[in-house]
């Protein structure tokens, strides 16, 4: 039987396993762009799900499931995080009123979890976390129908069902096949089930046997870029802990190391590029608790952003209220982009975007803050749209999500906003405006790859047109020129270049000169975007 404490234990097991596999999941990225963050998104979502469970001593399984559903919904980040939150919601609904679950009821809850996730997605795609969840549910059901079924057997069956489904994802989605990876979200769910099984069965040998399967492409994947430090904090609970010995071992893996405590509990704080390695080391000495892993570059950005907005508020005159009573909340990464969007009327900026998707809760807080009952929410990134849509259900305000999937689309939409028009009129005009802008994002490949028939070498300059990898080459000017040719730039009037934090002044001047030389009819406008990961984002209109 599954009761509250057992579900709690199982979820903590999922968390531990996901922590260990986070980077591996991040590397399962279709495109060679530095935005592989599925593992991080799922981990942060799951962390939010179990946050309150730790404190709960509820005996009923329904109570624990409900807390997890709520926590995951608030913490949902990225598409995979949102779907994960829907899985928890389905599970929570299925076990409502139950103080404990039989193996058959557990299997039914797994199935309902998958169904709920399918229902939540507008266009469900096979070969993703959805089909993995469904196959896990089906396998669980088959196992539960067998005589003498146990909880452990049901979870084990779900795990192997998930694994089969994960292995099948490249045959279901050509983008995965081309990139030589399995689906990251699906793999993340498998990892969670493995963690569950491990914590329920507590048999090391079993886990070893089960985790024998590795994603096919993993061996060829590059390690993440250096210097992306994670602030990692946790407690080690155990007996006869050697504080000094631990400190020495952990100090070798990072900096800003703080290891304090006694023989039964040690608090660890470290900035490291490899939290998983720190955790596996610590895990060998005792039980990990109160784990918190934060991406420091995003924390840093958040602090910068707060400083900017703080200065804004003190300097600006009291905001005049808009006649239409409609507020604007936009998601942006980079001080410059935030400033551009504020200048166009955004009342609140939620820090986030590429590889640091804001959570549903981050967006909810901003929506609640703006002094309007109706709010237009602009995700400005395709991986944020789903999480943004969750906000509507969590607030009494009327929230309209405009599905802007790039920064230029978001800016174009904001330009079309008018304070005299109703929210519906604005939404229509803004969407229309967003559709007429072309986005070119320029970055460097983080690994060798092939996508949309484009051959890419690690370090190449690559250009994505409207979120699709289209061009690769040696230097910015040549790649951008081909991208502009690709979209028929001669038919457009204006190119706005948003310079990222990695691009220098001379690089942006060089790029704009080369565009002016090649496309004399285009006007070129330069803006300091300050975004990370993308040296240049171009808006063509």
């Amino acid at each position: 039987m599954v009761d509250g404490p057992l579900l709690k234990q199982a979820l903590l097991g999922s968390l531990a396993r996901l922590v260990a596999k986070q980077e591996e999941i991040n590397r399962l990225n279709v495109f060679p762009v530095p935005d592989g963050d599925t593992g991080t998104n799922m981990l942060l979502t799951l962390q939010s799900a179990v946050e309150d469970i730790r404190e709960s001593s509820a005996t009923e399984v329904s109570k624990i499931a409900r807390i997890a559903a709520h926590g995951s919904l608030m913490g949902a980040r990225g598409n995979s995080g949102v779907i994960l939150s829907q899985i928890f919601r389905g599970f929570g609904n299925a076990v409502q009123g139950h103080s404990e679950l039989t193996p058959a009821e557990l299997a039914a809850a797994f199935e309902e979890a998958a169904n709920a996730a399918y229902r939540a997605v507008i266009k469900p795609t096979e070969g993703t976390i959805l089909s993995v969840a469904r196959e896990a549910g089906r396998a669980a059901k088959v196992a539960a129908d067998e005589p003498g079924a146990t909880v452990a057997r049901v979870i084990e069956a779900a795990t192997s069902g998930a694994r089969t489904a994960v292995e099948r994802t490249p045959s279901q989605l050509s983008v995965l096949r081309e990139a030589g990876v399995v689906d990251a979200g699906g793999y993340g769910l498998l990892v969670m089930l493995e963690g569950m099984l491990h914590s329920v069965e507590k048999t090391e040998a079993e886990l070893e046997r089960l985790s024998g399967v590795q994603p096919a492409a993993q061996a060829t994947l590059e390690l993440p870029q250096e210097g992306w430090g994670y602030c990692t904090e946790f407690l080690i609970l155990g007996a006869d802990l050697d504080v000094a010995g631990l400190r020495a071992e952990i100090a070798a893996l990072g900096d800003s190391v703080l290891v304090v405590g006694d023989e039964s509990a040690v608090k660890v704080h470290v900035h490291t590029d490899d939290p998983a390695r720190v955790l596996s080391l610590a895990g060998a000495h005792g039980k990990i608790d109160r784990l918190n892993v934060g991406d420091m570059s995003s924390q840093h950005r958040r602090i910068l952003e707060q400083e900017v907005s703080g200065a804004d508020e003190s300097a600006a005159a009291p905001m005049s209220t808009r006649p239409n009573g409609v507020g604007l909340v936009a998601i942006a990464s980079g001080v410059g982009l935030a400033e551009v969007m504020r200048g166009l009327g955004a009342d609140a900026i939620v820090e986030g975007g590429q590889s640091m998707n804001p959570s549903t809760e981050n967006m909810l807080t901003a929506v609640e803050q703006v002094p309007y009952q109706e709010v237009l929410l602009l995700p400005n990134n395709k991986n944020v749209i789903l999480a943004a849509r969750q906000v509507a259900a969590l607030t009494a305000k009327q929230v309209h999500v405009l599905p802007t999937s790039t920064v230029p689309q978001g800016v174009a939409a904001l330009v079309a906003f008018h304070p005299d028009r109703t929210v519906t009129e604005n939404a229509a005009a803004m969407q229309e405006s967003a559709q007429h802008v072309q986005t070119i994002e320029v970055t460097h490949a983080v690994r060798d790859s092939r996508a949309n028939g484009v051959e890419v070498k690690k370090g190449d300059v690559i250009a994505l047109i409207n979120d699709k990898l289209r061009h690769a080459g040696g230097d910015y000017g040549a790649v951008v020129e081909r991208a502009l040719d690709g979209i028929g730039a001669h038919d457009y009037e204006l190119v706005t270049i948003y310079r990222g934090s990695q691009a220098s002044e001379s690089e942006v001047n060089q790029l704009s000169e080369s565009i002016r030389g090649r496309f004399p009819s285009l006007e070129v406008e330069l803006q300091a975007g300050g975004q990370e990961h993308y040296p240049f984002i171009l808006s063509v209109e």
């Binding site: 166009l344 330009v415 079309a416 008018h418 009037e493 706005t496 803006q527």
Partner: protein, 277 residues
């Protein structure tokens, strides 16, 4: 005033009345004044539009503008009073200029002679159209009635190439025009019943021209329509051609923005002045 009575139509230079109309209808135009520093120029008398914009481009300080004096109106009304039985004097909106007030003061000096001063609440060819409507009327009563009927139906839509001029002239602030500080945005403004409003902000001129057409279509049907421009004849012609096809029953006039209005719109402005049906 009986049928067939003789009356005259007076307006001011901001009505941008085409030269042919002045001759055809015998409309009198009182010039406003543009001052480059201390150097005064009577609008379209001492300075042609082309000369004005050439000078505007090179001026280190923007010119200022001023309304005609009440005396200028009194003089004109006085001289016209000997050749007609009444005057209808139609002018730029009182919220935009002191011209209408000066005309009223000028008219007050003419004892017993009927001068009807009309505050159009508008500027450029919408005022010109009212003058045309008045001039086409058979008598002063009809002229007054027809003009008054049309007072709420005048509208101006304008795309400014830059907000610089109208902002420096103190008519519209960046905030009112909804222009942020980072991006280069082009404002589309409307003028209706004396009030300037921001209608839209656009990134590119091509898009802005399309938007102007879209906005005009929302106000159909239209009785009279002019495409106005300040040194942007190609854009104006493009708009006119587009509209000539769409609105075969309306005569689409192309008009030039004069010096006084041009001081506030700056060069490159283009738009519509029209009366809705």
């Amino acid at each position: 005033m009986g049928a067939g009575s003789r009356f005259r139509v007076v307006t001011d230079s901001t009505a941008d009345v085409p030269l042919q109309w002045i001759e055809r209808y015998g409309i009198s135009v009182v010039p406003l004044t543009v001052l480059f520093g201390r150097e005064p120029f009577r609008d379209r008398v001492d300075l042609t539009d082309a000369q004005f914009f050439a000078r505007l481009k090179t001026a280190d300080r923007l010119p200022t503008t001023s309304a005609p004096s009440p005396g200028a109106f009194a003089e004109l009304y006085q001289s016209l009073s000997s050749e007609c039985e009444g005057i209808i004097s139609i002018h730029i909106g009182g919220t935009l200029s002191g011209t209408t007030e000066a005309a009223r003061l000028g008219a007050a000096g003419l004892d017993g002679f009927p001068v009807h001063v009309i505050d159009s609440g508008s500027v450029t060819m919408t005022v010109g159209f009212l003058a045309q409507v008045a001039a086409e009327a058979p008598d002063l009563d009809q002229a007054l009635q027809r003009v008054r009927e049309r007072l709420g139906r005048q509208k101006v839509l304008a795309l400014l190439d830059t907000l610089r001029y109208i902002e420096l002239g103190g008519r519209v602030s960046r905030a009112q025009a909804m222009l942020g500080t980072m991006l280069d945005l082009k404002p589309i403004l409307s003028l209706q019943e004396g009030e300037i409003k921001s209608v839209d902000r656009v990134r590119t001129r091509g898009k802005a021209l399309m938007r102007l057409l879209q906005l005009l279509r929302q106000d159909l049907p239209i009785e009279r329509l002019a495409v106005m421009h300040a040194q942007a004849p190609a854009d104006a012609e493009r708009l006119r051609e587009e509209l000539a096809q769409e609105l075969p029953e309306v005569e689409v006039v192309i008009g030039q923005i004069g010096c006084v209005l041009g001081t506030h719109t700056g060069p490159g402005a283009v738009g519509f002045a029209y009366l809705t049906a």
